[in-house]
C-alpha cells in the first residue's frame, strides 16, 4: 500500500505534538521514522491508528483520502501495528491472541480453533515466523512474543506494518533476525514503517529515513548519512556521543555480592548464583537484554525482594534480606527502573518527593513532626543545583516532564550521603538532553569516588559509562569485561555466548 500523511497536526492545549507532518511510504519500502523520545512519534501513530483525531491534515491511502476513526477501521484498511508494549493478553494462547477480534466461528458463536491454528501455521511458514499456536504468551520469551504481534498484524491482512520501537527488548541476535523478517516482508510487497531512536538500526535496515524533532519533520535522509549528522538532525545541535571520563582510579571494594540466588514472582529462579564486586570510583555497568534477571537482582540489592541464598555486603555490612529502609539508611542510593511506579508519588509535590525516602531524618522531621521549612529549603536548593524545571516546589510531580521527573529522583539520591548508587535503566524514555545530563551526573560522582552499578539494556549507554561491563544472561553473569571490549563481543555475550567463544 502507499500511505501518505499530509500535514498532520495535533495539539494538546498549547502543546503542538505534531506540526504539519507529511510522510510518504511506498509499497515494499522500509521507511524509518527517526526521532528522540518526546518528538511526537507516538502521537503520530495514535493518529494514524484512529486512537486520536488530527486537528488538521489528512491520511491518504493508495491515493484516496481516508479519515480514520478507530482502530478497527485502521485494521480493516490494512494497517497493522506492532506495538512497543505488546498488545497481547498474557494468559491467552498464541492462537487466542492472534484471532482476537477476528475469530473464525462455528455454530452457536463458538470459536473454530482448528481453522485458527491452521491459518497461523500457514502464515508462520510463509513469513518464517515459527511459533507454537498452543503456547501461552506469558511463558514465551520476548522475541517470540514479538513474532506473535507480527503474526497478528499479518493475519488481519495488513499491507502496511508499523513497528514501534521493536528492538528495545531484543538481543542483538534477535534484532538481526527481526531485520531479516522485515526484509522478507518488504520483498513480499508489504510496506514497513519502522519507528525508532536508534541510529545504528536505522542505517542498517531503512530504505528511507524521515527525521522528526519536536513535532515537525526536519528532513529526510539516506541510510548512508553519517551517524553524527543524523543525530544532530534528531536533536538540533551538535551532539556529544560519548561522555568525558577522567582516568580510572578505583579504590577499595564497596559492594560485594556472592552467589546470589533470587526467585521471580512466579517462583522460578531469576538470579542464579551471581557474584560481583564493585569498587569505589568505579562504574560497573550490568548489560543484558531485559528479562534476564536484572530487575530481580536490583530488587534484591535494595531490599525489595527476598534472597534465597548468597550474600550482599556493603562496606563490610551485611545487607542480605534487609528491609528497604535499612538498605537506604546504610547508604544505598536507588534510581528505580520504573520511575513513576517506584520512584515518585506523582500526586505529591516536588518538595515531598525530594525527601521521599528520608522524611524522618533530621532536619526534615523532629520526633515525629515534620519540619516544612527544612523540607522546602532543601527542595529549593536541589531544584537550583540540578536544574529541575518546575513551576514551583509545591507543584505535583505529575506536572513535570519525564526528564525532569528523573532529575528529581537523581537529585534526591545524589544529595544524600551515599556509599553506593544503583541505577536501573536510568535514561529510559528520556530526551537526549536529559540523557546527557544523567550520564554527566553519574560520571561526575564516579570521578569523585562513588561506586555505582548501572543496569542498562542500551549497549551504547553501557559502553559509554562502564569502567567494567558485566553481562547478565538467564540469571548468570556470562562474563565481565573492561572498556576495551568490542560491541560485537558484548552483543554476543548478551545473547548467551561465553567469553571465549565471543573472542574476548
Amino acid at each position: 500500500m502507499q500511505l501518505e500523511l499530509r500535514g498532520i497536526t495535533k495539539r494538546f492545549g498549547s502543546l503542538v505534538a505534531n506540526d504539519h507532518i507529511s510522510i510518504t511510504v511506498e509499497p515494499g519500502q522500509i521507511h524509518s521514522l527517526l526521532g528522540e523520545n518526546g518528538a511526537g512519534k507516538t502521537t503520530l501513530m495514535n493518529v494514524l491508528f484512529g486512537l486520536l483525531s488530527p486537528d488538521e491534515g489528512e491520511i491518504v491511502i493508495n491515493g484516496l483520502v481516508t479519515p480514520i476513526h478507530d482502530s478497527g477501521q485502521a485494521v480493516r484498511l490494512g494497517l497493522g501495528m506492532v506495538h512497543q508494549h505488546f498488545m497481547l493478553v498474557p494468559v491467552f494462547t498464541v492462537a487466542e491472541n492472534v484471532v482476537l477480534g477476528f475469530e473464525p466461528t462455528k455454530s452457536l458463536n463458538r470459536i473454530d480453533y482448528r481453522r485458527a491454528t491452521d491459518e497461523i501455521r500457514d502464515l508462520s511458514q510463509r513469513f518464517k515466523l515459527e511459533v507454537d499456536p498452543e503456547a501461552i504468551i506469558e511463558n514465551l520469551p520476548v522475541g517470540l512474543q514479538q513474532r506473535v504481534e507480527i503474526l497478528k498484524a499479518l493475519s488481519h491482512d495488513a499491507e502496511l506494518l508499523i513497528l514501534d520501537e521493536p528492538t528495545a527488548v531484543l538481543t542483538p541476535q534477535e534484532i538481526d533476525a527481526l531485520m531479516e523478517i522485515m526484509r522478507s516482508l518488504a520483498a513480499a510487497g508489504k510496506s514497513i514503517l519502522f519507528i525508532t531512536h536508534k541510529l545504528k538500526e536505522v542505517k542498517a535496515i531503512a530504505d528511507v529515513i524521515t527525521v522528526i524533532r519536536q513535532g515537525h519533520v526536519v528532513g529526510t535522509a539516506e541510510p548512508t548519512t553519517s551517524e553524527s549528522e543524523l543525530a544532530s538532525m534528531m536533536v538540533g545541535r551538535e551532539v556529544q556521543l560519548t561522555v568525558q571520563k577522567s582516568a580510572f582510579k578505583p579504590g577499595d571494594e564497596v559492594l560485594q555480592v556472592r552467589d546470589l540466588v533470587v526467585l521471580d514472582d512466579r517462583g522460578l529462579v531469576a538470579v542464579n548464583g551471581v557474584s560481583l564486586d564493585v569498587r569505589a570510583g568505579e562504574v560497573l555497568a550490568l548489560a543484558g537484554v531485559q528479562g534476564n534477571g536484572q530487575t530481580e537482582f536490583v530488587e534484591a540489592l535494595v531490599g525489595m525482594r527476598h534472597v534465597e541464598s548468597g550474600s550482599i555486603t556493603l562496606h563490610g555490612k551485611d545487607l542480605t534480606n534487609v528491609t528497604p529502609r535499612h538498605a537506604l539508611d546504610s547508604g544505598l542510593g536507588h534510581v528505580p527502573e520504573d520511575r513513576q511506579r517506584d520512584g515518585l508519588v506523582l500526586t505529591m509535590s516536588v518538595a515531598d518527593n525530594l525527601v521521599l525516602n528520608t522524611p524522618r531524618r533530621a532536619p526534615f522531621a523532629r520526633r515525629g513532626t515534620r519540619n516544612f521549612a527544612a523540607v522546602n529549603q532543601h527542595a529549593e536548593q536541589l531544584v537550583h543545583d540540578f536544574d529541575i524545571r518546575t513551576t514551583s516546589i509545591q507543584a505535583p510531580c505529575s506536572s513535570l516532564s519525564g526528564g525532569n521527573q528523573q532529575k528529581v529522583i537523581v537529585a534526591r539520591e545524589l544529595s544524600r550521603p551515599l556509599e553506593f548508587l544503583v541505577a536501573s535503566q536510568p535514561t529510559r524514555g528520556l530526551d537526549v538532553g536529559s540523557i546527557e545530563y544523567v550520564h554527566r551526573q553519574i560520571v561526575e560522582n564516579r570521578n569523585r569516588g562513588l561506586g555505582s552499578l548501572i543496569v542498562s539494556s542500551e549497549l551504547d549507554e553501557v559502553m559509554a559509562l562502564g569502567d567494567r561491563i558485566a553481562v547478565m544472561y538467564e540469571g548468570r553473569i556470562i562474563g565481565v569485561v573492561d572498556s576495551t571490549a568490542t560491541r560485537e563481543s558484548i552483543g554476543l555475550m548478551m545473547a548467551g555466548t561465553t567469553m571465549e567463544a565471543a573472542g574476548v
Binding site: 485494521v75 477480534g101 497478528k152
Partner: protein, 432 residues
C-alpha cells in the same frame, strides 16, 4: 532457540518456600487434632450415631434407603485421622495448587464429624440421628443463592468490573419478587421482575464506574447501603400497610420424573424449585459462553488486557456494560430465588450472603465450576450453623451464628496471593 531455553528454565528445580502453605497446614492439623481429641474423646465408647437418608418431608419421597448406624467415637477418630493425613500431606509436599481444595475437604469432614458427634446417643442431644438428605436439601437453598451471587461475580469481574453490590441486588430482587409473587401468584413474573431490577442496579454501577470512573468498590458499597435503607423504608411504607404484597409464598418444587426417586441425590438435585434448575442451566450457559464462544473471548480479553482488546476494535466499555448488566440480572434473579425459598421479605434477611458469594467467587478462581464448589462448602457451613442448635451442642447459639462468616474470612485470608483475578479487575479503563 530461546523457546528451548525457556522450557529448561521452567524445569529448573524451584526453590519455593511458601510460608502460607505451612500456616494452612497447621490450621488443618489443629482442626484434625480437635476432631480427634475434643470430639472423639468426649463420647462414650458405646455411643452410636445414626445416619438416615429419608427426608423428613415425605411428599415425592425417593426410594427408601435404610439407615446406617456407626460407633461415634471411631467414626469421629477416623475422620480426624483423614484430616490429619491431609494436613501432613500439605506440610510435607507443599503443593502449589489445590491447597484450598484440601482445606475445603478438611472443612467438610470436620462438619461431618461434628454432626456425628452432636447426634450421638447416649448424649445431650434430643435427636439421635443425622439426616443426610435433609441437611443437603436444607443447605441447597443457601448454596443456590450463593451460586447465583458468584455467577454474577464471574460475569462482572471477568470483564474487569468488581461488583460489591450483589448484596443490594439480592435485596432488591427479593423485595420486588415478593411483591410480584404475592400479587400475581406467578413466580415466572417475579423472576423476570427480579432480573430486571438487578440489571438496573448493575446499570447504575456500570454507569458510575465506567462513565465517571469512580472507584467501583465505593460505588458498590454506597449502592448496597442505599438499597438496604430503601428496602427498610419501603418495608414500612408498603408492606406494613399492605401485607398482601408480602405473603411469603414459597415456590413449589418441581420434581423431575423418575430421577427424583434416587436416594439422597434425588431430593437434592431433582426435586427442587424452578429457580434451582435455572441456576444449574445458568452455570452451564455461563461456562460455555465464557470459555468457548467469541463473546467469551472478548469478555476475558477485556478483563485481562483492555488495551489489547481495544486495538483490535473491541469496544471495551460496551462489553463491560453488557456484562455488568447481565451479572446484575443474575444477582437479581438470585434475590428472587432467595425469597422463593425463604419466604416473606424481612429487612436484612439476606444476611451478607452477597458478600459470601464474592468469597466463593475468589475461592472458585473466577470460574463458574469453582464457584459452585465453593458455594456448596459455604452453603453447608451456613446451614449447619443453624442446624447444630437442634442437637443441643454446648456452644452458644451466637457463636454458631458467627461460624459461616469466620469460615469466609479464613478462606479469603488463605487464598489471596495464590489466586489470580482477571488482570484488569477493578481498574478503570482510560481511553487515550
Amino acid at each position: 532457540m530461546s523457546l528451548v531455553a525457556t522450557q529448561s528454565a521452567q524445569n529448573v528445580a524451584t526453590l519455593v518456600r511458601n510460608r502460607r502453605t505451612r500456616v494452612i497446614a497447621v490450621l488443618m492439623a489443629i482442626v484434625a487434632l480437635f476432631t480427634i481429641f475434643a470430639l472423639g474423646s468426649t463420647c462414650r465408647s458405646s455411643a452410636h450415631s445414626v445416619l438416615t437418608f429419608t427426608p423428613i418431608n415425605l411428599v415425592n419421597a425417593p426410594w427408601h434407603l435404610g439407615s446406617l448406624t456407626v460407633l461415634t467415637r471411631w467414626t469421629v477418630i477416623v475422620l480426624g485421622l483423614i484430616e490429619l493425613a491431609l494436613a501432613v500431606e500439605v506440610w510435607v509436599r507443599e503443593p502449589r495448587r489445590a491447597v484450598m481444595a484440601r482445606f475445603g475437604i478438611v472443612a467438610i469432614l470436620f462438619l461431618l464429624a461434628v454432626l456425628f458427634w452432636a447426634a450421638r446417643s447416649p448424649g445431650p442431644s434430643p435427636i439421635d440421628f443425622v439426616n443426610l438428605t435433609s441437611i443437603l436439601v436444607g443447605a441447597s437453598a443457601t448454596t443456590m443463592v450463593l451460586v447465583y451471587g458468584s455467577l454474577s461475580g464471574v460475569m462482572c469481574e471477568r470483564s474487569g468490573v468488581v461488583n460489591i453490590a450483589i448484596e443490594g441486588q439480592f435485596i432488591a430482587g427479593a423485595f420486588l419478587g415478593s411483591i410480584i409473587a404475592s400479587t400475581t401468584d406467578n413466580f415466572y413474573y417475579a423472576a423476570i421482575a427480579g432480573a430486571v431490577i438487578g440489571g438496573v442496579i448493575g446499570l447504575l454501577l456500570a454507569f458510575f464506574s465506567l462513565r465517571y470512573r469512580s472507584d467501583q468498590i465505593i460505588v458498590g458499597i454506597v449502592l448496597v447501603t442505599a438499597l438496604s435503607s430503601l428496602s427498610s423504608y419501603l418495608n414500612l411504607q408498603v408492606f406494613t400497610p399492605f401485607p398482601n404484597f408480602n405473603t411469603g409464598n414459597l415456590a413449589p418444587n418441581l420434581p423431575i420424573p423418575l430421577l427424583y426417586k434416587i436416594p439422597v441425590l434425588g431430593p437434592v438435585f431433582f426435586n427442587q424449585s424452578g429457580f434451582f434448575y435455572v441456576m444449574m442451566i445458568l452455570v452451564g450457559v455461563v461456562s460455555f459462553a465464557l470459555f468457548k464462544t467469541r463473546y467469551g473471548l472478548h469478555v476475558r480479553a477485556v478483563g485481562e488486557h483492555p488495551r489489547a482488546a481495544a486495538t483490535v476494535g473491541i469496544d471495551v466499555i460496551r462489553v463491560r456494560y453488557i456484562n455488568v448488566v447481565l451479572g446484575g440480572a443474575i444477582a437479581g434473579l438470585g434475590g428472587v430465588a432467595f425469597m422463593a425459598t425463604q419466604g416473606q421479605f424481612q429487612v436484612g434477611y439476606t444476611s451478607g450472603y452477597g458478600y459470601i458469594a464474592l468469597a466463593a467467587l475468589i475461592f472458585g478462581r473466577w470460574r463458574p465450576s469453582g464457584a459452585v464448589v465453593a458455594s456448596i462448602i459455604f452453603g453447608l457451613s451456613v446451614y449447619l450453623s443453624y442446624n447444630l442448635v437442634t442437637y443441643n451442642v454446648p456452644i452458644s447459639i451466637y457463636f454458631l451464628e458467627m461460624f459461616p462468616y469466620l469460615i469466609t474470612i479464613a478462606v479469603v485470608a488463605g487464598l489471596i496471593g495464590r489466586v489470580r483475578p482477571p488482570a484488569a479487575d477493578g481498574r478503570p479503563y482510560e481511553r487515550d
